[in-house]
Amino acid sequence: MEYFLQQLINGVTLGSIYGLIAIGYTMVFGIIGMVNFAHGDVFMLSTFIALIFLLALTQVLGLGSLAVALFIVLLLGMLLTSLWAWAIERLAYRPLRGSFRLAPLISAIGMSIFLSNLVQVTQGPRNKPVPSVLGEVIVLTGGDVYAVTLSYKQIMIVAVTVMLLVAFWYVVQRTSLGRAQRACEQDRKMAALLGVDVDRTISLTFVIGAALAAVAGLLFMIYYGVVNFADGFVPGVKAFTAAVLGGIGSLPGAVLGGLLIGLIETLWSAYFSIDYKDVATFLILAVTLVFMPSGLLGKPDVEKV
């Protein structure tokens, strides 16, 4: 029982990170119907940005307070990752909008290859061990054989995720930007006729997605304590699976999917086989798409002939 509880805690922590990345996939797919293959690598890039600023603040500038440092890193990371996503959208995707259907997909795959290799070339191929942050744990139940622990990291990850999701929900549901976004999602041409600046809305969608991925990047770096240039692909595919499982295009679905994928992954590793944990994710992805293409909370895709 204690073991299960511990896995539950770990799964929810991991799931919040996946959920944050998944929102980027689901929003972009909802608005321009494209799988943004480079999103996983934008996330990976954000882990490096976070690491570099953390080192710069604590080592070079000698900032004493960790909380302040993390807060600054978070803001800078969101800013610069958004800048990257904005530039990628502007240079690699916008010229291809309305073009041949496969062109943006290939362009996105090219961008993904470019980003991971850029980080490899500029930062080197080796794993980067991150200085340990927030290592303390709280012992919840001190069982005889197995103590259930909750670390400060995990509390922070879940708390930050919940706060951001509330803020994000507010933006989408209550602001004019969110309204423009939902309008573009339903009918881009009609939205443009009614005075919505479609290009700007799409750019902002990419920016918001990347900002959330940057938060996920910082949390991921703190949680795992190691970053690598190749860390974009697998978390990216898992977050995409989360988006699909929750119903692609649905924002609550992305969060729910993220939590489910996090839980399934931890429980699968704990009870079945740690080697095949990625196979579990890929199987869920395939099975969901084949048998339930609209996911848990998505709207069914009606095709008009």
């Binding site: 119907g33 799988v35 490096f48 940005i49 690491l51 570099i52 600023f53 080192l55 710069a56 080592q59 070079v60 610069l80 800048l83 990257w84 530039a87 240079l91 690699a92 010229p95 291809l96 073009s99 041949f100 259907r101 496969l102 062109a103 997909l105 290939i106 362009s107 795959i109 090219g110 961008m111 993904s112 290859i113 470019f114 980003l115 290799n117 980080v119 070339v121 500029t122 930062q123 080197g124 080796r126 980067k128 061990p129 991150v130 200085p131 595919v237 995409f240 699909v244 080697d275 095949y276 990625d278 196979v279 890929f282 199987l283 992805l285 395939a286 798409l289 084949v290 293409p293 002939v305």
Partner: protein, 469 residues
């Protein structure tokens, strides 16, 4: 209006330059923002394994300058006059070009030998010739699935892996060796293993193509791409983790090399060189492998061209254009899709077993998602459905990245620790993006109709209605 136009543009010229400068400054600022963390500060481990930062502001300055100049040049470049498309190309131009390329291909080993000598020729034939031709073959194989049937497959490397592992496992398995030695003779299996396993590997891959094709019959477009990606990754993960059979990450080594129809390429008395009274050199094997992959690739091409004329080929193309119309005309879409998957996968399997035989060693590292992405991008960049375009795209993309290995003179420009090869994939990714922006339809975007009324007219790809599938 037309009268006023000329003086106005002259008067606007200084403002135009000013605007361009402003715009380029913006681009430079953007480049600064993008470059600051990842390029300016490199994380390095010091002696006590702690990460420290190494500032490299020089690189940032270069990147910013480059962005500025590139944007300025782009904005101020005199608008190139739009070239009129040469509609009336001489009849059979594509055919003549293909024949010329084919002849060049056939004499390529001789040319390489004549120009670079024996020592250099192996490298040129192997790294350039064989390497590019493997991708040409994979591109043509995938072209059946993506280009003809319009089924977007991002997991093609799975079939390549099935082919490679089928050959490697069969050829190195002890029971098979013992069985063959007992029933036919001790020398038989080492000499003929490749020739027997090649069709087996192709069939095995085709079987897997059908197996993985069944569940995805209902899916289209991006969803299909994602599911095939998932299948490809599952196969790779199984190859990694099923250690008793596949030996995991360590891979399989000691795979028998192909023989010249029973004559091994060794220095022994029964070898190829001794049999024909030649002096032994490893060059013969390389040349033989080169012609073998030429034959395999041409076989793929020939089968594809023939299939396009059969009812099944027409059904594929109809399926690509419009699945619903296709079904309402009574075409069995299940069979049509499965045959496309199976035949495409089968050629992937052939290429895989050739790859295993050429390398003599395989491991799951060779079958990552990146390979699928590269092959798919070759097909799309070549212009979907165009055989010649796929070959040109493979040559440009693979040859272009391979040539970086030869650019040692760059070290004199950028310093001794400059390693051109590490920029291979970086430039590959950038090339993909730029090529897509330049020609979203691929290099050869004309399509020869396989069926026509009275006159054979090339169709601009933009004019072909895109099926959504």
């Amino acid at each position: 209006m037309a009268v006023n136009a000329a003086p106005q543009t002259r008067a606007l010229a200084p403002t135009r330059i000013g605007a361009a400068l402003k715009d380029a400054l913006g681009a430079a600022l953007l480049a600064l923002g993008l470059a600051v963390p990842v390029l300016a500060l490199r994380t390095e481990q010091n002696m006590s394994n702690e990460l420290i930062l190494q500032p490299r502001w020089g690189y940032v300055a270069v990147a910013v300058m480059l962005a500025f100049l590139a944007r300025l040049g782009y904005l101020l470049a005199p608008a190139l006059p739009k070239r009129q498309r040469t509609r009336a190309r001489p009849r059979g131009f594509g055919r003549a070009l293909s024949m010329a390329l084919l002849v060049l291909l056939l004499v390529y080993p001789v040319l390489a030998l004549a120009i670079t000598g024996k020592a250099g020729a192996i490298k040129w034939i192997d790294n350039f010739g064989i390497q590019i031709l493997i991708y040409v073959m994979l591109g043509w194989g995938l072209n059946i699935v993506v280009g003809l049937a319009g089924l977007l497959d991002l997991g093609y490397v799975a079939f390549y892996a099935v082919g490679a592992y089928a050959y490697a496992l069969l050829a190195t398995s002890d029971p098979v060796k013992a069985f063959m030695a007992e029933w036919i003779g001790p020398g038989f299996w080492p000499a003929w293993a490749f020739w027997i396993c090649l069709p087996v590997a192709g069939l095995m891959a085709a079987f897997w193509g059908i197996l993985l094709g069944f569940p995805v019959l209902r899916l289209r477009g991006d969803y299909l791409a994602i599911v095939t990606l998932a299948f490809g990754e599952i196969i790779r993960l199984v190859l990694i983790n099923w250690v008793p059979v596949t030996n995991g990450y360590a891979g399989i080594s000691g795979i028998p090399r192909p023989s010249f129809f029973g004559l091994p390429f060794t220095a022994s008395d029964q070898g190829f060189a001794a049999f024909f009274g030649l002096e032994f050199t490893p060059l013969y094997r390389t040349i033989f492998l080169f012609y073998m992959i030429v034959c395999l690739a041409l076989l793929t091409n020939w089968v594809t061209l023939r299939l396009r004329r059969l009812p099944i080929g027409r059904a594929w193309e109809a399926l690509r254009e419009d699945e619903i119309a296709c079904r309402s005309l009574g075409i069995n879409t299940t069979n049509t899709k499965l045959t496309a998957f199976a035949i495409g996968a089968g050629f992937g399997g052939f290429a895989g077993s050739f790859f295993a035989a050429r390398q003599g060693f395989i491991s799951p590292e060779s079958f990552t998602f990146m390979e699928s992405a590269v092959v798919l991008s070759i097909v799309v960049m070549g212009g979907m459905g165009s055989q010649l375009g796929v070959a040109i795209a493979a040559f440009v993309m693979i040859g272009g990245t391979e040539i970086l290995r030869e650019l040692d003179w760059l070290k004199q420009v950028f310093g001794a620790d400059f390693e051109p090869t590490q920029y291979r994939m970086l430039l590959f990714g950038l090339g993909m993006v730029l090529l897509m922006i330049w020609r979203p339809r691929g290099l050869i975007s004309f399509r020869a109709p396989s069926i026509f009324l009275r006159e054979r007219r090339m169709v601009r790809a933009e004019a072909v209605r895109e099926g959504r599938g």
